[in-house]
């Protein structure tokens, strides 16, 4: 299976701030490179649709081509916020290929991504977004 990863710098903090700061009791401030945007394509390992914050584990390559387990976060969003966008416990299945965009974690030695907000949802292998909803409220 071929996994692709493209890293590019973008001024992408704005939309992320919208999702991560407005209702985030669990602050993501300072722990992600808000000025960097990373695209990852990989294999879903785990989708934990739990409170206070759901998370997704994706197996994808790092910048050196080494497979890593990436911890993907929706920031301060809780189950209810994602439900309002159409997410459910069945949205991601282990083994499926998806592509996500987000800010990489700052801390060395760990692999994390704060998922892009603003209704830019992960996409499936055929390019369709995993959900269509836009508002978390």
């Amino acid at each position: 299976m071929t996994l692709s990863k493209r890293l590019f710098i973008a001024l992408a903090g704005f939309t992320l701030c919208l999702t991560s700061q407005v209702f985030a009791h669990h602050s993501t401030r300072g722990i992600y490179h808000e000025e960097q945007m990373l695209e990852l394509t990989g294999t879903v390992k785990e989708w934990a649709f739990i409170n206070p914050h759901p998370y997704l584990t994706l197996e994808a390559e790092d910048e050196n081509g080494v497979l890593r387990n990436w911890d993907l976060s929706y920031g301060g969003a809780a189950v209810v916020h994602l439900q309002r966008q159409g997410y459910s416990s069945d949205t991601f299945k282990p083994g499926e290929i998806i592509t996500v965009h987000g800010n990489p974690a700052r801390k060395a030695g760990v692999y994390g991504l704060l998922m892009e907000g603003g209704g830019n949802h992960p996409t499936r292998e055929n390019g369709t977004p995993v959900v269509e909803g836009g508002s978390m409220f």
Partner: protein
């Protein structure tokens, strides 16, 4: 009112006349009691001072389409004292109780978009929040409720309520010191001197909530907001905090105190 009538026993009697007499006496007593009820403040339905708050309500939203924005105490809010700012700067994110599933404090909890239920009882009001199974009891004045001991402090404080001018006015104090007590997003603490005044009233079908918070150590002036709720049909799904979800992002936190031993959290 009807409940009061039904709860008064008529008693038993053998003779018809005696029974009639007892019933007459009872009816007279009931009539007299009924007349006195509004004066004594026992009749909720008969008093204009007591609004009908009982029921399910959506989370409160700010006037003018500001959604939840009016409730947020900003990290550099001019109301914050120098002490609050210094505390905020010193206290690092990973030491916050929220990573152990500690519930949001009040009034910050109102910024969470979950419905809640008000239950009006004769001597108390209960508030059931749709998050973390938080239930607050508001002890209504005039019912001889006990008060906390002088050395007793509570996570959600001790709340005393009264009906006044068509509103339920709740005063809550005796809070524990809380490192996230004014705002859990920005590490703004609250002291044992935090005191909250909540005023619940009705405006047509809506529930109006006015909140004012004082804390002489961390606020220069009262922090106030006003929100409005509409009737809700359900509390929503059960909300349970799971430690794995709460602590997940800590793996990415960079310690403010790297020379300290790495903090290991208790696995409850």
């Amino acid at each position: 009112m009807d409940n009061h009538h039904q709860s008064i026993p008529l008693g038993k009697a053998k003779g018809g006349m005696k029974l009639l007499s007892m019933r007459m006496n009872t009816l007279i007593r009931i009539a007299g009691f009924t007349c006195l009820l509004p004066l004594a403040g026992y009749s909720q339905a008969a008093s204009d001072d007591i609004p009908d708050l009982d029921g399910l309500w959506t989370f409160g939203q700010c006037p003018g389409g500001r959604f939840l924005g009016c409730m947020t105490l900003l990290e550099d809010d001019p109301k914050l004292t120098d002490r609050a700012l210094a505390y905020q700067a010193a206290f690092d994110e990973m030491a916050q109780p929220k990573y152990d599933c500690a519930p949001m404090p009040i009034p910050h909890m109102y910024t969470d978009p979950y419905n809640y239920r008000l239950e009006q009882l004769e001597d108390r009001v209960r508030i059931y929040y749709g998050k973390d199974d938080v239930v607050r009891t508001i002890w209504l004045e005039g019912h001889g409720h006990s008060v906390p001991a002088i050395n007793e402090f509570l996570y959600f404080g001790h709340a005393i309520g009264k009906y006044e001018d068509g509103a339920l006015v709740v005063t809550t104090n005796k809070f524990t010191f809380d490192p996230q007590g004014l705002n859990a997003d920005f590490r703004i603490p609250s002291s044992t001197q935090k005191e909250l005044t909540e005023r619940f009233s009705r405006d047509g079908d809506d529930l109006v909530l006015d909140v004012s918070t004082v804390d002489t150590f961390f606020l220069k002036e009262p922090w106030t907001f006003n929100v409005r709720s509409t009737p809700a049909t359900s509390m929503g799904d059960a909300w349970t905090c799971e430690l794995d979800g709460a602590r997940r992002s800590l793996m990415f936190e960079i310690s403010k105190y790297p020379e300290d031993p790495e903090a290991e959290r208790i696995k409850y």
